[in-house]
Symmetry: C2
Subunit: 414 residues, 2 copies
Amino acid sequence: MNTITEQCRAAFESTFSMRTISTTIKNQALTLMAEAVWEKRRFIIEENQRDLDQGQANDIGAALLDRLKLDDARIKDIAASFLSIRDLKDPVGEVVSGWRQPNGIDIRQVRVPFGAIAMIYEARPNVTADAIALAIKSGNAVVLRGSSTAEFSNRALSAVLSEAAYAAGVPKQAIQLLDDLSREGIHTLITQRAYLSLVIPRGGSGLIQYVVQHATVPSIETGIGNCHVYIDVHAQIEKAIAIAVNSKTHRPSVCNSCETLLIHADIAAQVLPELARQLIEKKVEIRGCNRTMHYIPEARAAVDLDWATEYLDLILAIKIVDSVADAIQHIRQYGSGHSEAIVTEHIPSEQAFISGIDAACVLVNASTRFVDGGEFGFGAEIGISTQKLHARGPFALKALTTTQYVVIGNGQIR
Amino acid sequence: MNTITEQCRAAFESTFSMRTISTTIKNQALTLMAEAVWEKRRFIIEENQRDLDQGQANDIGAALLDRLKLDDARIKDIAASFLSIRDLKDPVGEVVSGWRQPNGIDIRQVRVPFGAIAMIYEARPNVTADAIALAIKSGNAVVLRGSSTAEFSNRALSAVLSEAAYAAGVPKQAIQLLDDLSREGIHTLITQRAYLSLVIPRGGSGLIQYVVQHATVPSIETGIGNCHVYIDVHAQIEKAIAIAVNSKTHRPSVCNSCETLLIHADIAAQVLPELARQLIEKKVEIRGCNRTMHYIPEARAAVDLDWATEYLDLILAIKIVDSVADAIQHIRQYGSGHSEAIVTEHIPSEQAFISGIDAACVLVNASTRFVDGGEFGFGAEIGISTQKLHARGPFALKALTTTQYVVIGNGQIR
């Protein structure tokens, strides 16, 4: 048996005690974890420095180095997030539904932990901390497969957090950081159906597609976001410009930022020149359809690939359409089912858009940047699911649980 | 493009109109389908006869021939099931949750159809009828891959039902019965991620395992049931015997029947002789552990494989255990996570069992045979899920829907 299978089995074996661990113990673990991560920050930052040195030597680039870096402020944020997860309502034990059948049998659908879940993620070491905290609060054992880029940081965090959780009564086996970080190891991990109930990939689309293609363990796909903002002919112009600029520029590197703007032909002349001015001021490169070029001479001509691209950058494709139906048609063709926004003051346009768009989130008169677990009030987002099974859209703690039917009779037979 | 991909694409293209089809139209379709299937029963029964002739020629066996057969009574049942599905509440449009964020944004989580779903199933042609009815009521397009054994029956049913549904306003493309019934065709079908949102295999464990291993489309596993009844030392003896006999013999060929009986050592002498008498009277073959043999001389000695076997037959394995903890341990080792029952009058035993068992259903003092969509009051069961994602335990219409977030602002940006 290889080490990955062994670690998954160890996690699985702890699931039976994790199922029944009390909220008091889980919350105590999170408190102790918050204290420990702060008290041992020197050690964690030293280990993080080894990753940073390695990263610099391997020339991984400034952006990745920044995401990798841990300092006092970031460790304080990690500690704070433990306390906010502690303060979330424990999802385990919730009676989701319950009823009595005519024969007198009582049926209750009760929320229970999944069991052992795996997370596969890329460079940011705070995901390690997050995943451990969420797993503990939801009563799951967790198998973590981080990036080799963050190997020392992840080990340090996992060691500090496991010890703190153990002091509160969480079994050591419940937190497994994989030692084997080989590429083949991912395949081994995502096929451990005997031990794992769920795998969640968090990272780039290459990783996610690999998991979706090869996992036999059920997975939640946190997919790409080729998100659109459609400015309807009945839009209020200032709102439209503000929402378009914010959706593109507030944080262009994330999945809920806007990649293509669609705009009704009859309002283009009133919106595009001022919108372009504001976008260009914020250093956004515009790629426009033929008609757009007429209003924005600075734009580059868009090619078909532009409509399908998640730039994750200060680039915006703009296309003029002739109706809300055309906008919906374009989004059906190119959208990734993540988040789609309409700006309009007109109820029929709103209704057509909401019923016509098949995406995790449809927004009306709001920036696509609101599609986020925090902005939804979930406390600690795990990701934004673009699949339709189990969880769709921003998902958090509750998505790490399943339900069990409890059927209580007094001797009934059929 | 092969025909399977084409048929999946055709189904997908209809999903946009299926999303918004009214409950009135869906219910009208179900009414017309009930009428049509009865009016055209001669044609359906004639086509079914071709399958039966073929089956007889291929010597498929009496049991399979019986499952394949359609007659007036069975067609009446099909028509009745359309009307009962019609009378279920439409799950689409339900606001599952909704709240207002501090910034004034309103968030609603609304139930919507999946889109296009595929069902892969074996001989019984009534599954074709069921799947079409459930798909229509839940607003989904459906791609059906039945068994070649039932090819003529499925074609006849699908033609009659599509025509009736079309008369009510359901697009023709929304119901696709695959022409290509090759084995490789299954692989093509379960990897149509561009067009399908869900695949549900209904059939033997070979089919289900194949789908789980190879599907890239998300699937719901309707797994095997190696179900246990544990008779606790605190059981009421008559209840225990009745539940054990019923769980085994009421319908041994289905997944919720009991395969292994566990019994506490200290009550074995009071229960086993009478239980064995009743089981043997019902022609059940008993395979017992060493200690069981002492009480039931007619039993064969069980081997390790017996504990792991889903007999689906009049065979029962019996093992004597020394505590509820031992019973739980045995079930953890051999159970398939389907349904597990305890018979006891003692609250601590009940609590230990419920919290210790990780299965879709845990029953207390009731036959395992109650784990069924109909017995749960769901109206039309699709299957019993043994996975933890999305649906667990008996699932029905609602599991064929997902949710979409609708976010309504009035110009908010971040």
